[in-house]
Symmetry: C2
């Protein structure tokens, strides 16, 4: 497994692979890898000759009062996980290698304005820009994103469609702890008491899934899930929403594929979870 | 020479070429080709195995009151010019083929806000977005842009740098009529009287070039050029500016490479011209 920190070197290595006819699978991450990332890597490993993982805590997707400086990092542990899952190359550039007097941005309107975009207004601009950069540097055939970040996945799909990036986007299902909590690097912020309280998200997800099968309205689903989260004193809801699966715009009636998404503060840690529902 | 209108077909053709190891030179145009475009094509022809020309009057770079509907078009004439200059492929998609419920944009701050960006606030966002799309569809090794659109060239260079597009950008010098008027598809709008008046831009450019060699300030250059244009009753200055060649921001003293750029209305037709000056 190679570990490369510069754009020039990663391009040289990947160009050599491409000339040899190898397909490239790409898993972009912010590091502090967990089983959710491992599932992305395993999916990439199955369907590509070479697997590239980027590890980069992207400053442009963090707001001013967000957790950029405290975001957990452990490159040595990440290397071990990547090696054991058959990764060929880790690309881990510095912020200076990625950004120099930056003026160009990729932005998505409408899809970025709902759900997490309300609380994090610059977040998806930063995500789109850095993913566009990685796509241009690595030029993967396939790129893998977790369904836990469902809005991000929808936005990346739309960016790729609108800007014609020659990359297949593959969504990979949420990986959960045994008690249902979605795996996340940010779970490490939770105290043991908060960690127990955090299971309330999955309980709400399960009830929401039951409710939606009965053909109820979006409001009913949201109320059902809200009532469950409100039973947990350490939980404070940021949003629980039912949106169109493609446009990310709120819907009232469930007549086409939807995403039911939630963000909940457990103490000061903001956690997200979601499920998709197709009427077919 | 092939003429292709769909993204899927152009990708298939170019992928075949790429697998055969051919290098791809790309000349993006809005059609109604003239000798300036021919110079871009000739430059591409010299240094690439295959030359692709796009002909697309891009709606997203025209403001509401601009000349989208009246912009001159003549595909048959364009085909003849391309064929005679050895073009391998013309890609001429419809607006619907290029845009479908578009939400993603590429934007550049600061460099877009000066010069033509003052009068045309959405122009460069449209240019960056469509060029990003073409780069992703065609994946050229080299792309050719005219120096007449100097701000566009600086913006594209910055977009490619910031977003790491794997494309070399080559600027090609302005091609002029025998009386000095820069070749432009929009020259066709000029009446014969206006056509004569339009030479005032080049006269101002020549005087500006003389003045800058004397080591004068930006204001002196601008005044010199303004005085010349003002002698022409049919001419109305939009701007005459001296800007840093990379940042496109106005400068007072000429201590680093600069662009001296002008936009002048001749009747209702807006024409641009420029020259670069390096202190070395």
């Amino acid at each position: 497994m190679e570990i490369i920190t510069t754009i020039e070197k990663v391009r040289n290595t990947i160009n050599t692979w491409r000339k040899q006819g190898y397909s490239i699978g790409f898993v972009p991450t912010m590091g502090y890898l967990h089983d959710g990332h491992a599932a992305l890597i395993d999916e990439a490993r199955k369907n590509n000759d070479k697997v590239v993982v980027s590890i980069f805590v992207n400053p442009t997707q963090f707001g001013e009062n967000e957790d950029l400086s405290s975001y957990p990092r452990d490159l040595n542990r990440d290397k071990t996980l990547c090696e054991s899952h058959g990764v060929d190359l880790i690309f881990t550039p510095s912020p200076d290698e990625m950004y120099c007097n930056r003026k160009a941005f990729v932005n998505i309107i409408d899809l970025s304005d709902t759900l997490c975009g309300v609380r994090r207004p610059i977040h998806f601009k930063g995500v789109c820009t850095v993913v566009a950069k990685f796509f241009n540097i690595i030029q993967p055939n396939n790129a893998y994103f977790g369904e836990k970040d469902a809005q991000q996945l929808a936005i990346i799909r739309k960016m790729v469609f609108d800007l014609n990036f020659p990359v297949n986007i593959i969504g990979v299902p949420i990986v959960r702890e045994s008690d249902g909590l979605a795996k996340s690097s940010r779970n490490t912020y939770l105290s043991s008491e908060e960690r127990k309280a955090a299971t309330i998200l999955y309980k709400a997800i399960q009830e929401g899934k039951q409710a939606i099968k009965c053909g109820v309205s979006a409001d009913t689903i949201i109320n059902t899930m809200t009532n469950i989260v409100d039973t947990e004193p350490l939980a404070k809801i940021d949003y629980i929403s039912v949106v169109d699966a493609n446009t990310m715009q709120p819907v009232q009636e469930i007549t086409s594929p939807v995403l039911v998404a939630m963000a909940v503060y457990i103490g000061s840690t903001r956690l997200i979870d979601n499920f998709s529902f197709d009427t077919k």
